[in-house]
Symmetry: C2
Subunit: 620 residues, 2 copies
């Protein structure tokens, strides 16, 4: 029989005394934490496949370690009462230390620099218009009329007569406040708001990119295109799995879990709206249009659409059309009838974010062949020109975000982001803080330098035979463990968390799988379209991670095709920029629809050549 | 300081022991009853102007009678501890008897006879269509698609791509249930539902007439036009006032009261939908279209639209357009995206019900002049032909429904509905039960017969000078009281409630005001349009009350213009029939819009001739 047990969670180094919750014996520690709304990150979705959810049992009975505990944490840590919280079933009252030294502070999220979007050549035709008119309340002289008739009589005849009920409800008092001076807000031919007085200058919109890992949002003035505020944070769904497949598995055939994920993202977006509006001193009721991009899974989860079949072959989305929903229907806390526009979707794993990136980079208008690589846990690749566009996706996995890498972490303060190897190893950390782990760009840089230093061969094997010829300091950093060889990047004395920071043989395998997935996707599009490297005019690196990759290191490890470095450009958060462009411009939003209908999707897994290409792409 | 007091309400003759509620001293008994959700009818809206809310204090301190108590109930009743519950402020614990002998059982509401509407010549083009198609879930072969794409690929290209979110959410499971066999329901060019399997035969709609006093609803098969169920009941808002002005006064500038009235009507309509569907063994989810008519006030209250200014000159509505709202938005418990269509409104007191009556009687297509008289607490009159249509409204008040008539009651069992006077007075009661009061048609008949018997003169004065020449039995029935003369129709020994049932001089004045209002409205339209009696081809009596009026008596008391009786027709519940026609036929619903734009409204009160006409119309 299950019993009630008390679990006390203590934050590492936190001032707080920890929070105590009641749970049921047999539950895992992770479940108990989530039930109590305590965020423990479970990058692999609680399947014992990564170390992100590890905790230390400070007091109370420690259940025996599982195989996953030992594999992920090693014998020593297990002896020191470290456990994976997803694998640890509660047996008795206990106190656990969460957020081990890996706590990620100041995670870099690629936001959007403040700029005027018209600079990038977007017409300002947001579709939102404000009309300041005087619409007097009906009087004795004009008796066969209504409040709404009086409003319409001041406006053009091409407006839809079906006005939202809440707008109608507000009319009587609004018309009688400022002698009939009102501001009518329209989106295309529909009235979406009526306010007392002249509010014509308050016309705002927001653009969001909802990524698997992080969310970026900006508040724009729809008249000038000026960016008034930018907000970004981690996607709060991450506690339920770091990659798309974990997120899907959690929600699959489980309406309650789907609702949980939906609530998390909805609350986050509402918090962002409030935050951005507060930064810019804008009333959320004056946000009339919101454009949202995101991969197909994030899109569906946000809308509460079942993702069960998105996780099963042929990975088809439920809807690809560019949906438009009113804010009150979701509900988002903006103007109640604000139009929330979702850009269209191409396929199950090539979503609205890719459409955003195409909009921003304009490769659909390009004369020459260009290539977008939007690196993330799911990486999308689009290749082509105004004549033809093809896209595919590669499940790169969370390695570039620190997932399933022994000392992996996100690009936060204390993460190794660059590595130099000569007689010894020198590392550069984000924020110049003591090292506590290594992030994706650091990993790529480290592996590139290890190749140059001949510590590593092109098959990704940490070489033992040449060790004797290495400089002594370097040689000392290479060591063998029960799980194979590893290179010590920062030794425990210098590290911020008192642990040796290493790159293991297994880490290099994970990196190879990730970069192999991406490069094989590029190779596949080249093969299907018959495009050789020389024909590629430009390669655009997009996305949060892509923009921090050292291009030379990326080329060195064969993450990218062998192009001259000058042909490779950082394109920033192109998906989000595309969302901003569609926010400011209905003609651009129309272009998004046209692009979605044009792009041909190539399914990697079902292509007969894929296995060969993947093997070719694995080598360094 | 206010104290808590306990009030026990006991039903007259009810088996139950009564319910006990806590109230605050200083509250009125009526307020205490409403707070406890006990329905005490307050026809005048709790202003002490009628007797409908009277109660008898059985136990506890009786507060001293107010002027209104004495005027409405008389000295004797007040001595017997009768009080108006709207005037009685609580002072201490008490037990009160509610629903005095006037309890109205089996009230006649004019429903709609079972019939096939196509018989009255309505095209069957409801706008709702069901398409049975096979839309397979995406497979490996067709990978660049979505569930929704697969649905669209089986349907025509003219459908809107913006599908309601709840429909999209349901697609994944529906498409995978019966090998892709689905039924797609559309309203005009919009998808409103998708179901698994073939449900093409389940296509229903409902038509409602929301009157001030009663509500009538029918369930129709949209394919055949057959009426499958009919429901009707009192409007549950009546406890907050019997006529429009009382209802408006209650909700005026008080959002909470507006919400109360809205909730009452919404709950009633939802109950009716459930009841009708249960009668016909139909699932409410298969009700896809609902057409609603009602006067402007009922229309606004149902939609939660502020009626504050509807009660103030120039009595303008907030909206006159034919609104279409989804069921889930209101919310009505039908198909979530069922289209709830409100017919348009002409003016503040000539509403969608009048449009319904015009649709049903087709006077907008008539070659000759015809006249609609829809009698109710607010009476609407429409006159004209296909060349010109004019309308006006007359506040007849609740006299015809028993309001403000000493022994008045609604047309329920025990109500006097016809009267014969020769040597004595003989009365016919509804249900042939012992008399407990007199209803509107009985009142008109009684007054007509009193005129014939020369008891009454054409000025409405109960004559004293000729009494000596009357037969003795009749003479005995005429008596003088402290409040003036009255005629005893049924004496206490024969009455069902042990009281003499009388018609008082004051009752006759009320009748004159009511019928004068109606006849003056007709005279006004005749004057404005220059139409003499002979030009009127037909007078159509509509509405719950109009259909029970004895035509000869109506002519005798000058309720109606002096036309040959054969020109006067009972048109049934024409407003509701019009709603049914618009339900079955979109072209008819379009006609409603055209009619609303054509009809000219004449405001009675502001017309300079009105006073003269009203005085002329008062005489009998």
């Amino acid at each position: 029989m299950s019993e009630t047990v008390r679990v006390t969670f203590v934050d590492h180094g936190a001032a707080s005394k920890g929070s105590s919750v009641l749970a049921t014996s047999g539950q895992t520690l992770l479940q108990a934490a989530h039930a109590a709304e305590l965020d423990i990150v479970a990058t692999c979705g609680g399947r014992g496949r990564c170390r992100s959810c590890r905790v230390k049992i400070l007091k109370g009975d420690v259940p025996p370690p599982t195989v996953q505990d030992t594999v992920q944490l090693g014998h020593e840590a297990v002896r020191e009462r470290f456990r994976l919280s997803c694998q640890t079933k509660l047996v008795a009252d206990c106190t656990v230390l969460v957020a081990p030294p890996r706590a990620e502070v100041g995670h870099q999220i690629l936001g959007a620099a403040t700029r005027f979007l018209p600079d990038v050549g977007v017409p300002l035709d947001s579709g939102v218009e404000k009309h300041v008119v005087v619409a007097r309340a009906p009087t004795e002289e004009r008796h066969q009329t209504s409040d709404l008739d009086e409003v319409f009589s001041t406006l053009g005849d091409d407006l839809s007569r079906n006005v939202p009920l809440d707008v109608v409800r507000g009319l009587p008092s609004i018309l009688r406040k400022q002698r009939g001076l009102i501001t009518v807000t329209t989106f295309k031919n529909a009235i979406i708001d009526v306010e007392a007085g002249d509010t014509s200058r308050q016309k705002y919109g927001m653009a969001f990119d909802i990524g698997t890992t992080s969310i970026v949002g900006t508040l724009l003035d729809l008249d000038s295109g000026e960016q008034l505020a930018a907000v970004s944070d981690m996607n709060p769904q991450a506690t339920y799995g770091g990659d798309l497949m974990s997120r899907i598995a959690f929600a699959q055939f489980d309406e309650k879990n789907l609702a949980t994920l939906r609530a998390r993202i909805l609350n986050a977006i509402n918090r962002f709206i409030a935050e951005a509006c507060s930064q810019a001193n804008v009333a959320p009721e004056h946000v009339y249009k919101i454009v949202i991009v995101g991969n197909t899974c994030m899109h569906h989860l946000f809308l509460g659409i079942d993702v069960s079949y998105l996780g099963l072959a042929p990975y088809a989305p439920v809807v690809r059309h560019p949906l438009v929903v009113s804010a009150k229907e979701l509900p988002l806390k903006a103007a109640p009838n604000a139009c929330v526009c979702f850009l269209p979707i191409i396929a199950g794993f090539v979503g609205a974010d890719t459409i955003g990136a195409v909009l921003a980079t304009r490769i659909d208008e390009s004369e020459k062949i260009r290539l977008i690589v939007d690196i993330g846990t799911n990486t999308e690749v689009v290749m082509g020109s105004r004549d033809k566009l093809m896209a595919c996706s590669a499940p790169a996995g969370p390695a570039f975000e620190g997932g399933q890498i022994k000392h992996g972490m996100r690009a936060a303060i204390g993460a190794i982001e660059a590595v130099a190897i000569d007689n010894d190893v020198r590392c550069k950390m984000i924020g110049d803080a003591p090292a506590i782990g290594i992030c994706g760009s650091g990993l790529i840089d480290a592996v590139a330098k290890m190749l140059d230093a001949k510590i590593l061969d092109s098959n990704g094997v940490l070489r033992r035979e040449h060790r004797e010829s290495l400089p002594p300091a370097l040689r000392a950093r290479l060591r063998d463990t029960e799980n194979g060889p590893e290179l010590v990047l920062v030794c425990s004395e210098q590290a911020g968390n008192g642990e040796d920071i290493t790159i293991t043989q297994a880490d290099i395998r994970q990196l190879q799988l990730a970069k192999g997935a991406i490069y094989s996707a590029i190779l596949m599009l080249q093969r299907v379209m018959g495009i050789v490297d020389d024909q590629i005019e430009e390669l655009l690196l997009c996305g949060a991670f892509g923009n921090y990759v050292n291009i030379n290191s990326g080329l060195r490890i064969r993450l990218l095709p062998p192009l001259p470095p000058k042909k490779i450009t950082y394109a920033g958060n192109a998906a989000h920029l595309g969302a901003e462009m569609a926010l400011l411009s209905e003609s651009t939003r129309d272009r998004a629809y046209a692009i979605a209908q044009r792009i041909e999707h190539v399914g990697l897994a079902e292509h007969p050549d894929f296995q060969d290409l993947f093997v070719e792409a694995l080598s360094l």
